[in-house]
Symmetry: C2
Subunit: 571 residues, 2 copies
């Protein structure tokens, strides 16, 4: 890192927003003391701040986060920094034609994470010559020796097979490091330097010793003495060249719209909307996990091939690349089957710590996908993605609404998730109806309502059908489309519960953490003690036609009617 | 597959429970029609059943699941079959000294998943000579060409670097396949055969054509004609040899116990309990993700080194290996930081479809871990793991309870999760107090109680402290330890809410999908309309001392007291 800062890194610490700055990502986030010491040496922070390390309120946290202006993304969950850096490098190279370089410090332990090899694969395939990874091969993990210790041959062979420029050096040999950086930045492909080091080098009490990971030194004064005594090291980091301008043209394209009554799948509307916002907003980019013909991200790819990234079946790398791209101001939409986004859950969790602007779309949710069976059904996505800090969870019930919500996601800065349905369902709303994050829509309402039905997506259709059946039985039911599951329209729910005195929620999702519990929380917080029936998927689903699976799961119109009758009889 | 069934596989279809049977895992689960056709050829199912493919109620689902007795695990989320097979092979080789082989059919598209390379790495490291992977390199994914199409050189080089025996063959050349199997099963290491094939081979309408994935043929009769007409192919699969007995001795060891008032971290109790149940139950095995000195799985490793598996920093492979081991009757406990288990969420989701017996332990949960910062804090684990079909979520509040719950997990068949705390907290319960899945414990109770405080783990300590403060203010508070979050003790919650008229839940977790919403759901279902205050982590936490972080998050004793006063004033 000392050699990097003194001779290779191009970074203006006074202007972290300078788009021509190189990037430096500490994939081994636990090396934060080194990173902060580098900031001190570069004059970006002072001794006083350095000594606030890990204190409450300090931006110098245990692991780096973007609360520090020179940090792009939070690291500390190993195996994420390199795949995220692939996204930064892709954006700089493919979208911006920038000359910046992305430097990544990786640990050897984290090479056990498959996500690192997704990154090697993707960067090699894209021949990202602006990406340079340095692997600190110090032989020791937290608990003990790594799998390969100092034998870097297997790792080097794999990186080479992925199309990288590969070097293996002594990580304490300054001349070797210098030569390795020179070669790496001149390579016509991504470059990796496997640097064999001794953990705690230069301090005999800990050097290359087990059981010292993350522990304070017993005798820090002796260690300082061994390392040459107290000094005030400083380094002058070279500034980047002038940023190169680039331009992506926007075109005025009309918002997609559908006729009321037409049957359109919300996943199709997602594809149409994505292609549309790609035309009107040059910052929109899209990534997909090799299912663009199912998520309909392919409609964006057809219109905006230069801003579409095929990430193959590597959901972790897909989300990581999106997180990397947003560090440079791009607005990434990443899509796959909702079920398979669960593969990248740790990356979404960390993206929230990174305060990232990340838009996700999960298609093929719930049992209503039908014959493909449970492995393809997202039934935990609402729960898991609601439980992400400051996230937005949207579940459109028709195509016109889906288009508006995609546009709302474009404008919203933060982590948002759109849940789309495989099946074509009737268009309910006019093209000019407006929908917003945090809203809801009451579709049926009268002064005689004695129950409220709450659904979203495919179950809204079931609620409407149930309301029709109930009307035939003389029961007036209010129907609410809860398309914004988080944030949720608490006022509308509380008003409906109070006015109708009973409520049934219906969702194509497990009972835990979904629409039903969201509503239960709202009512409990408000102290509204009505009877709530929460219909959700019960039992382990199998294959079959959508209607049969909705019935078997207990979430079709007939089950809604039965629930209402249970409540009515109970009163 | 035809060559495998006729000459290599050793499997008694009449006795799938025979422990000497080979295993056959379709990692490319979407090739289910091939698998079911093989069952038909082997005489295991008949034509009539074969034609129920993907119908409602049929066990021949869109993707294979263990509802079929010859299927070990559900596949269909790509990249899982091979890592699970590593677990099967580890169990057979290391624990049982069995001669069986594990055959895995993989797709080329799924080699983009990092989890596949975690499996290559782990199997190579363990030199699993009983594992044979066949990769169907058909060049075409769902959406279009794969990254490498028919050029298997990069994949082959990587597999070789991981220590595998590697062959590249023409996947339509029967003699080449035969020779490849012979070499693979004779190899002294795991073997992979990259078999180049044409998708839809032999049917001109679809052969090697894009946009045909997962679609029915336009003219099936013509296709049947091209393939040689309707025939009733059958194959005689050889039986396995006699199973080899093996024995692991149990020893009567006393249950670990702690003195009331002693300060013990529940993660430490997990380690002690795991070592103990390893002694009394020979089926218990443990896996850890290179943090055994933090989760304390190392205490099991020290006692039972032959049944401990170090999976390095590869949580997907860790959970997959556990799923593989349980197919052979082992009881696997897999541990890491709770935050990092999120890396394996898709594997846990699929394990539920596999009806797997999987025990997970996540340590270092919540903001109370302190200075390491948010990347290390599990704050979404309750929500995400509750939203797994039929799961159990336990969150012990003291060490003696933790020991009992670990033992309850051992006895429970299904997916269970134990949430442990980093910090040492006072032992509350005696060693002979008993705790069960689905239970709760009321620690403070009187006829004068006007509010109920519900906590678990670290927040139970805060609730008890708040109750003391409230007593000083003349407010009697009931305190419930909700150590079983799923299933939850609804009766106790409803009774307490009804009797005390107000409730405060406190959790070191995001507000979504955790303890507060669980309780809200219970109360709403019962129509109990009291005022509920749900305290949970608000804001994005940073580093700092645990007490400061609990206060900043709004979940310490002072905040509980304030919440009670808000409710009291509101009444």
């Amino acid at each position: 890192m000392a050699v990097l800062f003194s001779d290779y890194l191009r970074y203006d610490f006074d202007a972290p927003q300078n788009s021509a700055n190189d990037h430096l990502v500490f994939s081994k986030g636990h090396a934060s003391p080194l990173l902060y010491a580098l900031y001190k040496a570069a004059g970006a922070i002072d001794d006083e701040e350095l000594l606030t390390f890990r204190e409450f309120g300090s931006r110098l946290q245990g692991h780096p986060t973007p609360e520090i202006p020179w940090v792009d993304v939070a690291t500390g969950s190993l195996g994420q920094g390199l795949p995220i850096s692939v996204g930064i490098a892709l954006a700089a190279d493919r979208l911006e034609r920038s000359d910046l370089r992305v430097w990544v410090l990786c640990g050897d332990s984290e090479l056990a994470e498959g996500s690192m090899w997704e990154a090697f694969e993707q960067a090699g395939h894209a021949q990202l010559d602006n990406l340079i990874a340095i692997v600190d091969v110090n032989r020791l993990g937290q608990r003990g020796p790594t799998m390969h210790e100092w034998d870097t041959s297997s790792l080097a062979a794999r990186a080479a097979a992925c199309g990288w420029d590969v070097q293996e050096i002594d990580g304490h040999d300054l001349a070797a490091i210098d030569a390795a950086y020179a070669q790496a930045q001149g390579a016509d492909r991504p470059a990796v330097i496997f640097a064999r080091t001794k953990k705690g080098s230069g301090v005999a009490a800990v050097e290359d010793k087990e059981n010292q990971h993350g522990k304070p030194l017993a005798d820090p004064d002796a260690a300082i003495e061994e390392l040459g005594g107290i000094r005030s090291l400083s380094v002058s980091v070279q500034s980047p060249p002038e940023p190169k301008p680039f331009e992506i043209a926007t075109t005025a394209v009309e918002r997609p719209s559908y006729e009321v009554g037409e049957k359109v799948a919300t996943r199709g509307a997602y594809g149409d909307a994505l292609a549309w916002i790609g035309s009107i907003d040059e910052k929109v980019v899209a990534l997909d996990g090799e299912v663009g013909n199912s998520t309909y991200a392919e409609r964006f790819a057809a219109k905006h091939p230069d801003r579409f990234f095929e990430m193959y079946i590597a959901e972790q790398q897909m989300v990581a690349a999106a997180v990397g791209m947003q560090t440079r101001g791009w607005k990434p939409f990443a899509s796959s089957f909702g079920a398979f986004l669960s593969r990248a859950y740790d990356f979404v969790r960390m993206a929230a710590i990174s305060n990232a602007d990340l838009k996700l779309c999960g298609s093929h949710v719930g049992v209503s996908i039908g014959p493909d069976g449970p492995s393809q059904m997202a039934l935990e996505d609402i729960a898991s993605l609601r439980a992400v800090f400051d996230s937005v969870v949207l579940y459109p019930s028709d195509a016109n609404q889906a288009v508006q919500l995609v546009d709302a996601m474009r404008e919203h800065r933060g982590i948002s998730y759109l849940r789309t349905t495989r099946e074509a369902t009737p268009v309910l709303y006019g093209p000019d109806d407006s929908f917003k994050i945090g809203g809801s829509r009451t579709l049926r309402s009268s002064g005689d309502d004695t129950v409220t039905l709450v659904g979203a997506g495919i179950t809204l259709r079931e609620c409407l059908s149930a309301a029709d059946q109930l009307a035939g039985k003389g029961i007036a039911a209010r129907v609410i489309d809860l398309y914004s599951v988080k944030p949720v329209d608490a006022d509308a729910l509380i008003a409906a519960a109070t006015e109708t005195g009973a409520m049934v929620t219906v969702e194509d999702h497990w009972p835990e953490g979904g629409i039903g519990e969201t509503v239960a929380g709202v009512l409990a917080d408000a102290g509204v003690g009505i009877k709530l029936e929460r219909l959700a998927v019960t039992g382990r689903p199998g294959s079959g036609p959508p209607a049969a699976l909705l019935a078997a799961a207990g979430i079709d119109a007939d089950h809604v009617v039965a629930a209402v009758e249970r409540i009515t009889n109970a009163r």
